[in-house]
Amino acid sequence: MREMLSAKVRGIAPSGIRKFFDIVNEMPDAISLGVGEPDFDTPWHIRTAGIESLERGRTFYTSNSGLMPLRQEICAYLKRRVNVSYDPASETLITIGGSEAIDIALRALLDPGDEVLIPQPSYVSYLPCTVLADGKPVTIELKEENAFKLTREELLSAITPKTKVLILPFPNNPTGAVMGKEELEALTDVIIEKDLFVISDEIYSELSYHGDHVTIASLPGMQERTLLINGFSKAYAMTGWRLGYACGPAWLLREMTKIHQFAIMCAPTTSQYAAVDALRNGDKDVEMMRDAYDQRRRYLMKRFEEMGLPCFEPHGAFYCFPNIQKYGMTSEDFATRLLEEEKVAVVPGTAFGDCGEGFLRISYAYSLDSLKEALARIENFIRNLEAWG
């Protein structure tokens, strides 16, 4: 048979740390701090809203854009939490998680050769989704000394005449970095002057521990050139419900809805009904979970300090990104030995871009007991490294 697969798909390398992931999955007795999703169950009242929708026989498609009451609740939520106004009818789309929104936004925006700026370390899908949409990914290596924030200089030096889109993934997975109002403001005149469009992935927005989340869409001149992506997975512990949304200018949402309509039809109806309840009655749950993550975050930072493991202070999401450069090993070697010798699974920083080399992603979406035990083992591992190499 001739080669049936597209050259484009074949060109996308499988994740370099796939091998490591396979080893982890073969060690069921290891303690894992490697998961990128909440440890909480979806709050019970949200689950019952989903169950109730099934009992009432709401098992049909919704409109392509999603249930209107849900779109209205999303717009009300964005107004009250981040002070941006969107029209539920023409500027809002319900998607299968934030992931679908990223994919179809890039497909709607890019022509062959258009460049997409992707700050790294960051979530794994921006780069392949850009390639699949015929765009050219251009990575920007974020620096630990800048607390993994994107600076004006870094942005300026990455822009070429072909640059069209900037992806802003904050609060950030894997670093936990957050961009505050001033830091975002430092970018906006560049973005406007160079006529760029921003895809702002704010899936971790509710997990901000130093003041409220600020969206770049709320800054002057930015709403018309920003797509705000968010969802229910992290804030409401609803990963398996697969529900996200995108809000932005009507000219873009119209085209994204077209792709969504042909590829997906609509987001799951049960999840949409549950999400209406999440937005109406879930503020207390979000606060409770945020407090719990924040406590664990402080606990981890304290323990790293005690064991002499340098780690910049994350202000968002539920990850720490300690620096292991002083041990003179690659992230993957460190993670593999930690797994083999102490049976603790963490994710090598290189999973999130080459510039993640020398770092580990440690998730604190785990109970205090698990964290305690895992950190005791990490400390033991480090002590042995220091003593024996």
Binding site: P28, V35, D39, Q295, R298, R303
Partner: protein
């Protein structure tokens, strides 16, 4: 900050002081002092262990007793409650709004023992008009903790 401490130790009274201070971002000595003060001020009134006796060989029967009383001169609700709660068999006593006056919760080793307490000690009290005893058949959740087995962590083990 007191409320944060209370929230944490209400869930886990045995939490290590060092860990608690780290979780709250406080100094260990400050946390210890705050707890000591709250013990003195009768805010923290005890540290108990939540035991599921069902999983032991000991027979434990729990009953919830609704009590109607008639308060009299010099013998208000508080005084009547004292007469009731001073019995060591009694675990909890609450003054209620609604159709009856007190809820009394008692643990005994058998239904007979509980019945004897009601007929010999509680009912004869001068102010007590009537009682209605309800036996607990199964405990599902106590003090915010679910006693039936919960599901384990079913998440994927590693995800980007």
């Amino acid at each position: 900050m007191r409320e944060k401490i209370l929230d944490a130790i209400e869930r886990d009274a045995r939490i290590d002081l060092h860990d608690l201070a780290a979780l709250l971002g406080m100094d260990e000595v400050d946390v210890a002092n705050e707890i000591a003060d709250m013990e003195k001020e009768n805010i923290i009134c005890g540290y108990h262990t939540l035991i599921n006796w069902e999983n032991t060989s000991r027979e434990v029967v729990t009953a919830l007793i609704e009590v109607k009383v008639t308060p009299q001169r010099g013998m208000g609700f508080d005084k009547i409650a004292e007469r009731i709660y001073n019995y060591p068999e009694v675990d909890e006593v609450y003054l209620m709004s609604g159709a009856y006056d007190f809820t009394v919760i008692i643990e005994g080793s058998s239904m007979r023992e509980v019945a004897t307490f009601v007929s010999d000690k509680l009912s004869p009290l001068e102010s007590v008009l009537s009682t209605a005893t309800h036996f607990v058949l199964k405990k599902y959740k106590v003090h915010g903790t679910t006693l039936v087995p919960q599901h384990t962590d079913e998440r994927m083990r590693i995800l980007p």
